[in-house]
């Protein structure tokens, strides 16, 4: 295994980790502030990707496509919060899981109805396509590097928003004691809608950014959703810092496991057996990671009981 390949894989892992963070941040905010498990978060990711693909197809502009993704996902999030989610805050987790599972069915089939079953394609903008040479002579796709940068910038912005702004103070207060902040005269209903729309917009952005690398199709959100759940459970539900660290851990484990485990096994096994054992273990690795973390810290790395 060459160093160059390894560095490339680390970058790939970072890229998928950063995108996972965008998903996980919304999920963990929504859980932290409203105490809600939102399975339909993957649908918002899908809506972002479809909106981006549709607008890019019509106008040819990637920037407009991103704006459309953010707007469509935020609007869908706000709408769903007002119509459905609002009624679920004081229900138990089972009802939340089922109602948002129902939303997945509605969103997925609705999207299939509008756009058809065939995948759409969203092209990487011309200015960002092609590889770039990194120090050390490593060729790496520029677009993926930009995604890492955008993701990290959004993460920094989110931390600033939570730590430094008035909205952030309200969000943190909402996590700590929601009756108290309602009593202090903050419109808790509006705050909830806002947090939900913010989480949805982050998911939509991730969908649009990833949509340019993969194909945009119905059902694209669910695998990412499950990974994002793994991320927030590892990081501790409700913790943004945990979501960031969990996302990077999961992204790196997933990517590096797929490359390194077969190599590792082939050092003491027959090559074909090593490949199959290695790749089956690699696809299970993040779940093993999650089970391991939960065994030692049942509320995740940064979670509070």
């Amino acid at each position: 295994m060459s160093t160059i390949l390894l560095i490339e894989q680390v970058l790939n892992g970072l890229q998928s980790g950063v995108m996972l963070f965008l998903m996980a941040a919304g999920l963990t905010l929504i859980f932290g502030v409203m105490g809600l498990i939102n399975l339909a978060h993957g649908s918002l990711y899908m809506i972002g990707a479809f909106a981006a693909a549709a607008v890019a197809g019509a106008t040819g502009s990637f920037v407009l496509a991103l704006i459309a993704a953010l707007a469509a996902a935020a609007a869908a999030g706000a709408l769903v919060e007002l119509l459905v989610i609002r009624r679920l805050y004081d229900r138990d987790h089972l009802d939340q899981v089922l109602a948002t599972f129902a939303l997945i069915l509605i969103f997925s089939e609705g999207t299939r109805f509008v756009f058809g079953s065939f995948p759409l394609f969203l092209d990487v903008p011309a200015a960002l396509s092609g590889p770039i040479t990194l120090p050390g002579g490593i060729q790496y796709p520029l677009y993926r590097l930009v995604i890492i940068a955008v993701g990290l910038a959004v993460a920094a912005g989110l931390f600033l928003l939570i730590a430094r702004t008035r909205i952030g103070i309200q969000i943190r207060a909402g996590e700590a004691d929601r009756e108290m902040i309602a009593a202090l005269g903050i419109d808790i209903g509006r705050l909830y809608t806002l947090v939900f729309a913010l989480g949805a917009a982050l998911a939509g952005l991730a969908g649009a950014l990833v949509g340019a690398i993969q194909s945009v199709q119905v059902g694209m959100g669910e695998p990412v959703l499950i990974l994002a759940f793994v991320v927030i459970v590892i990081g501790g539900i409700g913790s943004i810092k945990g979501a960031l660290i969990g996302a990077l851990l999961v992204g790196l484990t997933d990517t590096l496991g797929g490359v390194l485990l077969p190599v590792l096994f082939s050092s003491f096994m027959d090559a074909s057996v090593a490949t199959s054992v290695g790749s089956s273990l690699a696809s299970m690795s993040i779940y093993i990671l999650m089970a391991g973390v939960l065994l030692f810290k049942p509320t995740g790395l940064f979670g509070e009981a």
């Binding site: 089922l98 109602a99 129902a102």
Partner: protein, 327 residues
């Protein structure tokens, strides 16, 4: 309780009645649908032991459903290729006998439930939902990437497995087998709910601290419930694989866990016949709405949403009246 008991009787009679009418009208496909409903009901009864009695929201029951399915698939595929499953240290041959396959499916899924439950039950609430989901996904990806038994493509079994004295390829005879299994499982689950163990388990769901103060161990009660629940769902998985004569990793997918949970809720969680009502309704909707529109999942989603938001006792709860609590 009388209205619910009457309703249960009607529901219970509905499946064989449908199958017999279909037999008279020479509609084997309807018999197959009734068989599928009976099998899914067995899976639902299994989940309901954990979910309804124990209050354990397991989002990973597809793990047991799939293990049961693969127990059937692996044993039958070895029997049809005449290659023994294992030669050393002792010889294990494949089999085409349903009874043997059921035992293997039950034991395998019970052991898996013991391992998964022992780890998962250390957590509670959302973490429990997520860790059971993770274990299900773990097995799903394992089934996809393990090439020995078909990997992503799954395994086809050419001839349905045998049951002494019956021709299992005849739809109505296979329906009779599955319906008897359902009846036995329902009887067992009903007895379980009223047994001292079932009462202690219900009490644990309602208030674990009090149960602990009277000297019972909630963790052990929940673990036993989880194992029984997993074993029953595994049995349903073996039957389901036999119905389709096909197993694939889809049986392990989280959508399968979701669907089993959906029809338990549609029927009425914690009610003995809830899964039967839910499974029958689910198959009916799939068949009727699926015939009307390719996008029938939208209607299923809307219906589920309405049930969760407005009809909290599920179908049986709505029909039998709100005053009849499920415990």
């Amino acid at each position: 309780m009388r209205r619910e008991a009457l309703l249960n009787l009607v529901l219970f009679a509905l499946l064989p009645a449908t199958a017999l009418i279909a037999l008279a009208l020479d509609e084997p496909f309807i018999i197959t649908l009734a068989t599928k409903a009976a099998i899914l009901a067995v899976a639902g009864v299994g989940l309901n032991i954990a979910l309804g009695l124990g209050g354990l929201v397991s989002f990973g029951h597809a793990a047991f459903f799939g293990l049961g399915g693969y127990a059937m698939g692996i044993l039958a595929s070895h029997a049809q290729s005449y290659v023994p499953l294992m030669e050393s240290p002792f010889l294990i041959e494949g089999t085409k006998s349903m009874l043997v396959i059921w035992c293997v499916a039950i034991v395998t899924s019970a052991l898996a439930a013991l391992a998964i439950g022992a780890l998962s039950l250390r957590t509670t609430g959302v973490y429990f939902i997520m860790i059971t989901l993770a274990f299900g996904q773990m097995l799903y990806y394992f089934a996809i990437s393990w090439p020995a038994y078909g990997g992503e493509d799954g395994l086809s079994i050419y001839v349905r497995n045998g049951f002494p004295g019956l021709n299992t390829l005849d739809p109505i005879q296979f329906f009779a087998i599955t319906f008897c299994v359902l009846a036995l499982v329902l009887f067992g689950a009903g007895r379980l709910a009223r047994s001292p163990f079932g009462l202690a388990l219900s009490a644990t769901r309602q208030n674990a601290v009090r149960v602990e103060t009277v000297g019972l161990a909630p963790y052990r009660l929940r673990l036993v419930a989880f194992v029984i629940s997993g074993a029953v769902t595994g049995l349903a998985g073996a039957l389901f694989a036999d119905l389709n004569r096909f197993v694939s990793p889809t049986m392990f997918s989280w959508q399968t866990s979701g669907e089993i949970m959906v029809f338990v809720i549609l029927g009425g969680v914690g009610r003995l016949f809830g899964p039967v009502a839910g499974a029958a309704l689910f198959i009916l909707l799939e068949h009727v709405l699926g015939g009307l529109s390719d996008y029938w999942h939208v209607y299923l989603g809307v219906l589920l949403l309405l049930v969760v938001l407005f009809a909290r006792g599920g179908m049986i709860g709505t029909l039998a009246g709100r005053e009849v609590a499920h415990d």
